[in-house]
């Protein structure tokens, strides 16, 4: 139940304060998702969806961080050895 999965917003169909809703694609499977908690997310953005609600936007810039960090520690290792 607790698994949140990433999906891409295809469109926003309702702009209501508590009823902001849009279609979100999960690798091609499209679902109607409540977007009230991510008012700044627009079509094209990625969100993490949990039980029908987008709970956070995915920050595309931060998304590479785990790989860059790994490169850094590996470089550090090369220098030290």
């Amino acid at each position: 139940m607790c698994l949140g999965i990433p999906g891409q917003i295809l469109n926003v169909r309702d702009e209501g304060l508590f009823t902001r809703t849009g279609q979100v694609s999960f690798g091609g499977i499209v679902k109607q998702i409540n977007l009230s908690y991510t008012p700044e997310a627009e079509a094209g953005d990625y969100v993490i969806v949990h039980v029908g609600f987008a709970i956070t936007m995915i920050d595309a810039q931060e998304a590479r961080r785990v790989f860059e960090y790994l490169e850094q520690i590996n470089e550090l290792e090369d220098i030290q050895s």
Partner: protein, 361 residues
């Protein structure tokens, strides 16, 4: 899938595993708090990549697993009533209560339905004005925004035939309870990424300081988990005990304030019972006025009903990381996913079920 597959990259996972091997000098025990992480660790064999000094313990973070028998029995009692349409997430249906489970109630003719989102239950209430529609609102902080919205919308729409059976639990008080236990040997935590997406991570700072444990906000894919373990081991080796964000693509320091505002509107903090652990003060959410009129326990007169837990299931010890699933005498014999004795064998996020599915040795 984008933002999923790349974090399952074997080379990067191996890279982190090697980095952990390079820095570790002493034995450390790290607990992942979320059942989703437990599932991924066992499924992808993340623990098998680690040096022998690093032991992973599986924490209490599976909402299905920590919902007390009492609440399951209450759900069953409500679902059995005529004129009730009982709705729940699918994984709650097979959790054993004292005598039976919700799926059996359905087989016997009860109107029990699985929903994907709590808002589906609100829609059902609107469409079935002659029925009492009840939603089983379980979960950690990740599910609270959705459940708060369902109650809020029902209130806005004046739906008098909608109510929720609430068993909402919070992660930080559970960590404190584990750290307070005399049997605790956790040296660091991987905090549950999506709980922090909602709540942020400042709540963890006093815990890290007080108990001198590093707490690393961690995602759910193998590379994310190994990254989290690396950061945690690095802190331990350097003698630091800080809260660190290893899942920055989905977690901001302050979390999601829009969601927090609605959670605070609808819920307040209450003591909660945890299955196999017992009552933990200030460890859950309950409805606050005026939303308490949607409380199914009140509506169906069950608030004073208490059920003791019995039986041979040691899931309480498994949830606190004191025992591993295969150390339970019933594991794999009297207890299997087809015939679960405890909730940790029901949910795919439960440690017992994850071991049984991926590690039958």
């Amino acid at each position: 899938m984008k933002f999923l597959d790349e974090y399952r990259n074997a080379e990067a996972a191996q890279g982190y595993a090697e980095a952990i091997h390079r820095i570790v000098t002493r034995p450390w025990t790290i607990m992942e708090t979320c059942g989703g992480q437990t599932h991924a660790i066992i499924r992808f064999g993340v623990d098998e990549l680690l040096p022998p000094q690093v032991t992973l313990l599986h924490g209490p973070g599976c909402p299905v697993c920590v919902t007390p028998v009492e609440l399951i029995d209450k759900a069953i009692a409500i679902a059995r009533r005529p004129n009730v349409l009982f709705t729940s997430f699918g994984d709650m249906l097979r959790v054993p209560g004292t005598e039976t489970d919700l799926l059996s109630v359905k087989a016997q003719g009860g109107d029990v339905r699985m929903v994907y989102s709590p808002l589906d239950a609100v829609t059902l209430a609107r469409e079935n004005p002659d029925k009492q529609v009840v939603f089983f609102a379980v979960g950690f902080e990740t599910t609270a925004p959705a459940n708060a919205m369902a109650v809020y919308q029902a209130h806005q729409q004046g739906l008098s035939n909608f109510s929720v059976l609430v068993s909402h639990v919070l992660v930080p008080p559970a960590l404190t309870a584990i750290l307070e236990s005399p049997d605790c040997h956790v040296s660091g935590f991987l905090a549950a990424g999506h709980v922090c997406s909602v709540m942020g991570y400042t709540e963890y700072e006093p815990i890290a300081q007080r108990y001198q444990v590093p707490i690393v906000v961690t995602g759910f894919e193998p590379v994310d988990i190994l990254h989290g373990i690396y950061l945690c081991v690095k802190q331990l080796e350097e003698g630091r005990a800080e809260v660190e964000n290893g899942y920055a693509r989905a977690v901001k320091t302050e979390g999601n304030t829009h969601a927090q505002n609605l959670i605070r509107e609808v819920f307040h903090i209450v003591p909660r019972k945890w299955r196999g652990i017992g009552e933990i003060p200030q460890s859950g959410l309950g409805l606050r006025p005026p939303y308490d009129r949607y409380d199914a326990e009140q509506r169906f007169g069950l608030a004073d009903w208490h059920v003791d837990e019995a039986g041979e299931c040691i899931s309480g010890l498994v949830l606190q990381g004191i025992k591993k699933p295969h150390e339970c005498p019933a594991y794999g014999s009297r207890c299997t996913p087809e015939h679960p004795l405890g909730a940790t064998m029901v949910s795919s996020e439960g440690a017992c079920a994850a071991y049984y599915r991926y590690r039958r040795t």
